[in-house]
């Protein structure tokens, strides 16, 4: 009897331990984002780029209770705020797949350098969200650029740099109040020059690209072992290993709960990384800084791996020497998921302009990219890579009301975001600067109240 009780208790304990383990990966530092209150609003008569590939002329969009309620012509205007948007353009909120806002905050003092835990080549145990300074003025300027969702990643000094976090671009007192509800964590990995340079000059591995790959493989072997031991222990076979933050993150990738975002410039290295993922049974959500994605666009399409690219950065290091402006267009042409990302606190303010550079270059190469297609590169495609495409990234009924009203064609250099809504709340209004957010840092540091802008 007593034995039975003990056995039962052990089982319960194990079960609860298992549950606790699940909770431990899912709920520490839980998101506390609460949407701000918005009014039921019809944005009337705009040109809509829906993010699904469609372009609708002179259409209305109704948002209420934080959601997109309806899209169409002549929607009832009873009891709702009407924003006349004739001649203006409406898009889903812009999503930046790759940002270091908050972890490399402005001003870029040494004490704000929180993005690279460059003390060991594998630091899967660190989480970018624990470095995010919510008062980085860059969040507010990105909002003025229409950015409503962004992934904050660790830097690329390490082979495996740690977890990224997906944020709603809302002013928060702490990072938890910015976390995108339901968004999976990302895992930052890095190919190529950066890890081998950072560690090679310290005289430790990796100092070569082959050292890089050996480093990833060793990490995944340990992760698979950890995962298997946990699974066995859950079935009562053997003892559960001591909780290990590093391996917990990597096991989360193998279990499909954490999405891999892989900094990788060269096409040949992307090909190696795809095989590495096959070896250990995980998938790569996206390659970042994929300067040579155009060389392996077919491989990306086959493996359903997104490529996140700059429009025009090239030549600043050897692995960026073959960058071409048509890159994203060639990836898109191959049927792969093309994304324009920023990696930059200034560039994030103008992702449609960066996209426009690719449209122009593609035209020069004889490839016609329509606005309704190009907008996907900065809305629905990054939403997919982040695993939040069921919530955001398109103008569709039932989606979160993250929308941007532009005062013209968003791909024009002269166009500005006029209104930015997040979950139906008006977060930014170009016509009403006094109502817009201002970070603590910006308060009183400039000579103008609220900074120069």
């Amino acid at each position: 009897m007593r034995r039975l009780f003990l056995a039962l208790a052990t089982t319960l304990l194990l079960l609860s331990a298992c549950g606790a383990n699940k909770d431990a990966t899912d709920t520490p530092f839980p998101g506390r984002y609460q949407p701000l209150t918005g009014e039921a609003t019809i944005i009337a008569g705009a040109t809509l780029l829906t993010g699904t590939g469609d372009r609708l002329e002179n259409a209305d969009l109704l948002i209420s209770d934080g959601k997109i309620i309806a899209i169409g012509k002549g929607l009832s205007r009873d009891g709702v705020v009407v924003v006349d948007a004739a001649g203006k353009w409406l898009t889903p909120g812009i999503i930046d797949l790759h940002s270091h806002l908050g972890v490399y905050a402005s001003p870029s003092t040494a004490s704000h350098s929180d993005g690279n835990e460059s003390t060991a080549p594998v630091t899967a145990e660190v989480w970018a969200e624990h470095s995010v300074w919510p008062h980085d003025p860059g969040f507010v300027t990105a909002l003025a650029g229409g950015v409503t969702t962004l992934q904050i990643l660790p830097g690329s000094a390490n082979l495996i740099g740690g977890r990224g976090v997906t944020l709603k671009n809302v002013p928060g007192r702490d990072v938890q109040s910015m976390k995108f509800p339901g968004a999976p964590h990302g895992l930052k990995m890095a190919c190529g020059e950066n890890p081998k340079r950072v560690y090679g000059r310290q005289g430790v591995a990796p100092s070569t690209r082959m050292g890089n790959v050996a480093g990833y493989r060793s990490a995944w072997i340990a992760a698979a072992d950890y995962r298997d031991k946990l699974a066995a222990a859950a079935k009562g076979q053997g003892e559960a290993p001591l909780r290990d933050l590093k391996l917990e993150t990597l096991a989360g990738v193998l279990d499909g709960e954490i999405l891999v975002h892989n900094h990788c410039y060269r096409g040949d290295e992307m090909s190696v990384m795809l095989d590495l993922a096959d070896e250990f049974g995980y998938t790569i959500a996206s390659f970042h800084h994929a300067v040579e994605a155009y060389k392996v666009a077919d491989l990306l399409a086959e493996s359903d791996t997104c490529a996140a690219m700059w429009a025009d950065w090239w030549g600043f290091k050897m692995e960026a020497y073959d960058g071409i402006r048509e890159n994203a267009a060639l990836v898109d042409r191959a049927g792969a998921c093309a994304i324009i990302h920023s990696d930059d606190s200034i560039g994030i303010q103008r992702l449609p302009q960066e996209t426009a550079k690719v449209i122009g270059a593609a035209a020069r190469a004889g490839i016609n990219i329509l606005p309704q297609q190009a907008i996907r590169w900065i809305t629905s495609n990054p939403a997919k890579a982040l695993g939040v495409d069921e919530y955001v990234g398109t103008l569709e009924e039932g989606k979160m009301a993250d929308v941007v009203l532009w005062n013209g064609d968003p791909f024009s250099v002269y166009t500005r975001a006029e209104r930015v809504y997040i979950d139906g709340a008006l977060l930014y209004d170009r016509e009403n600067p006094a109502m817009n957010p201002l970070t603590d840092f910006s308060l009183g540091t400039g000579v103008m109240p609220g900074g120069a802008e």
Binding site: L330, I346, Q353, K357
Partner: protein, 437 residues
């Protein structure tokens, strides 16, 4: 009949002149909208006539001369060639870990005498890459850098900048000593020790020694004068600064440091240019009064450091409104994408800068700053024939140069990037890409 050369459609042009650039004696470009950025303003249905590398005339309804090669630019927009006012073209190939950055001079041995023109490589792959984006002239500058592992760092005075042309000829350096680059403010403080006041002192000392050397050159050469901190090479180079023929180009952002610069330039009667100028708008009137031009990145609106707390998107518009000469860098100082000054200009327009002023800032204004406006910067008779033919608004990012002409030469619209592009545009997978040309 007299236009014996076939009238070439713009579409045909890019293809036809890929292999070998043609140096036509006489070119007539017809039916274009031309922003001359000169006294003639903007001309509709204009004809531009180029003879022996120079603009001969521009105007509405001009007749193409006998024997001219005629380019029909109906519906196109023509601007002067773009002029980037800072960067390292021809001084860098790949920035990180791939050979020296020839813009950098470490150590104290050479300061003002360091001349980047001697390191300039006109065959760099960056030249063609930027030429086809419309960049026809550039200032190339020495760059200061902080201490390396041996503790060697650059001097507060970085050395001499030069203007270059991106043409396909052999004579590519236009003007040496087009500017003397110095570092004040936060950047200068890192080089001088700790305080930015020390950076200013180093500059003053150099100017004072250069003045003294000029007054006592003969005594010095006879060994009857005191020694100097700076080398004779450096003091000789500074003579052009003292006589106003070479402007000081000061990397400086904070308003208080710009005030210091304004006073210094007044005291020594120097010509001065601010590069950076994040907070320059706070001193717009003073800069205008002192005739100090500003090179700025109009999109750099964040407090990147405590020297940039008042960075603003409207700096360009504010400075221009009171008559300060402005030109544009891009926010990253990306030499590789020097042509992105059109993006800077377009964004400045969106924030209130008049359109023609924006075009001037990326063409004529740098030419004025660096003393080459008698030859380049606008479409005027007698100037070197640099121009860009655009399908539409040159400041729009979807726009791109259809044809670039430098020194009257129709340049090949190819670069290493376009070759890579064309290789991978082909979808033939029967053999590896290495077999595709």
């Amino acid at each position: 009949m007299r236009q014996f050369a076939a009238t070439l459609s713009m579409l045909g042009l890019t293809g036809i002149f890929v292999a070998c650039p043609v140096h036509a004696e006489t070119i007539a470009i017809t039916n274009a909208t031309v922003h001359t950025i000169g006294p003639q303003g903007t001309i509709q249905n204009a004809t531009i006539i180029i003879v022996d590398g120079e603009f001969e005339s521009v105007g509405a309804a001009l007749e193409a001369p006998d024997g001219a090669q005629v380019i029909d630019a109906s519906g196109k927009i023509i601007t002067p060639g773009l002029f980037t006012p800072t960067g390292y073209l021809g001084l860098v190939e790949v920035g990180l870990s791939a050979g020296p950055l020839d813009a950098v001079q470490r150590g104290e041995r050479f300061t003002a005498g360091f001349d980047v023109a001697d390191a300039y490589n006109s065959r760099s792959t960056l030249i063609a890459a930027n030429r086809i984006e419309g960049v026809t002239r550039a200032l190339i500058v020495p760059r200061a850098t902080t201490a390396d592992e041996q503790g060697n760092k650059s001097h507060v005075i970085s050395g001499m900048a030069a203007t270059i042309n991106l043409g396909q000829g052999t004579d590519t350096v236009d003007r040496r000593a087009a500017a003397m680059v110095v570092n004040l403010g936060e950047g200068g403080s890192e080089l001088a020790g700790e305080s930015r006041a020390a950076a200013l002192l180093m500059l003053r000392e150099a100017l004072d020694e250069a003045g003294d050397y000029q007054a006592h050159r003969d005594d010095f050469e006879r060994g009857q004068h005191r020694d100097y901190t700076y080398s004779i090479t450096d003091l000789e180079a500074l003579q052009a600064v003292l006589d106003g023929s070479t402007p000081i180009m000061a990397n400086v952002d904070r308003a208080s440091d710009i005030e210091v610069l304004i006073r210094l330039c007044g005291e020594y009667a120097l010509r001065c240019i601010v590069s950076g100028g994040a907070e320059a708008w706070l001193l717009a009137e003073q800069l205008a009064a002192a005739a100090i031009a500003v090179i700025l990145a109009p999109t750099a609106n964040l407090p990147a450091s405590f020297d940039h707390l008042n960075a603003s998107l409207t700096t360009a518009a504010v400075l221009e409104s009171v008559g300060v000469t402005i030109s544009f860098a891009d926010d990253r100082g990306h030499t590789h994408n020097a042509g992105n000054i059109t993006q800077s200009a377009g964004n400045a327009v969106a924030e209130g800068l008049p359109y023609q002023a924006a075009l001037r800032a990326i063409t004529l204004a740098p030419a004025l700053m660096f003393g080459v406006a008698d030859r380049v910067g606008s479409i005027e008779p007698g100037k070197a024939a640099d121009l860009v033919i655009w399908p539409d608004d040159p400041l729009e990012l979807r726009s791109y140069p259809e044809q670039v002409i430098i020194n009257g030469e129709i340049v090949a619209m190819t670069s290493r990037q376009t070759l890579l592009r064309d290789r991978y545009l082909k979808e033939d997978s029967s053999r590896p890409p290495a077999f595709r040309r």
